[in-house]
């Protein structure tokens, strides 16, 4: 698929059950490129002055690089432990937004650009009792049997035939006659 605009379907995943036991932040390093003078980097410069040191202290596992580059738009580039890289332009962003995006990149495990999530949940064990099979509610003794079987070939709820009903009526009548004779 060389079409770069096609969204690849992906499932929700955590690398090797990250978070089930210990949580390891998947962001390896972050590069903040900015211009020292241009107005589009103002938010970035403000963030570097105020919020960056806190961010770096709170996330000791993330290496933060600053690259002042003249006459260029400000950019955040993130690299993850699985080798993914992601860059995003923060041109004209206020410093709060830059912090917000940085937190997002920090909590991600991989770059999700160009992916569409098929389902918002994922489980390796969708069934506890075992999924339904055609044999779940079948009598296992049927494994050792040779077909055809007369009893199983009959319909389950056969209504009474008229012959049987007449026979029953006849027997009832006979019984009544005998009892009335006895009563006499």
């Amino acid at each position: 698929m060389s079409n770069k605009l096609f969204l690849l379907p992906a499932l929700v995943s955590a690398p090797s059950q990250n978070g089930v036991g210990r949580y390891v932040g998947q962001l390896q390093r972050v590069v903040l490129k900015f211009c020292k003078n241009n107005g589009s980097s103002r938010g970035m410069r403000d963030f570097i002055e105020s919020g960056l040191v806190n961010f770096a202290k709170e996330n000791p596992g993330v290496v933060v690089y600053l690259k002042p580059r003249r006459h260029r738009s400000p950019i955040i580039k993130a690299e993850y432990l699985n080798g993914d890289t992601q860059w995003m332009s923060v041109r004209n962003f206020p410093q709060e937004e830059i912090l917000k995006w940085l937190t997002l990149l920090n909590t991600q495990a991989q770059c999700h650009n160009g992916q569409r999530l098929r389902r918002l949940w994922f489980t390796e064990h969708p069934s506890i009792q075992g999924p339904w099979t055609p044999y779940t509610f079948r009598d296992p003794s049927l494994n050792l049997v040779s077909f055809p079987i007369e009893e199983l070939a009959q319909p389950k709820d056969l209504p009474k035939s008229s012959e049987e009903e007449l026979l029953e009526l006849f027997k009832k009548q006979k019984l009544q006659e005998v009892e009335s004779k006895r009563a006499e």
């Binding site: 605009l5 096609f6 969708p126 069934s127 999924p131 339904w132 779940t136």
Partner: protein, 154 residues
Amino acid sequence: MVFTSVVNFVRSRGPDEFWRKRKVFRLAAAFQGRKRNCYSIAIRYVHRALVYATKGRKLKKIDMKNLFETRVQAACEQHNVGYATFREGLVRSDIMLNRKTLADLACWEPYTFKALTDIAQRKAVDDGLLDLKNADSLDSTITRGIITDSVKPK
């Protein structure tokens, strides 16, 4: 001969044409051939695709409802309970499960689903919805109504 004034006659449509058309190409990324690569052809099919998507939102709900119903019906017929009886019995036992959950249980937790059919059958027999020949097999299932009805204060 260098014609320098010819260049002046080129009318630029604007700098954002690439990105304006890219928004359309993103939606046409899964199409075939020229519908994917040529703008004036792609825009027509993208419009149709968007219309289908709008109509499909309603149809998807209908289709999924039918699918779940088919699955639940097949599952409860295996336990000799009709779909209508099953749902009525569950609702009367205060078990408000929707079609989706019932279908998921039927596929992934078949024994739980069997227990639900038992409850529904028991309730239906007690309320007179169902006429069973051998209702003794249901004695192991107890619903709330039985206990409150049989244990009356003296």
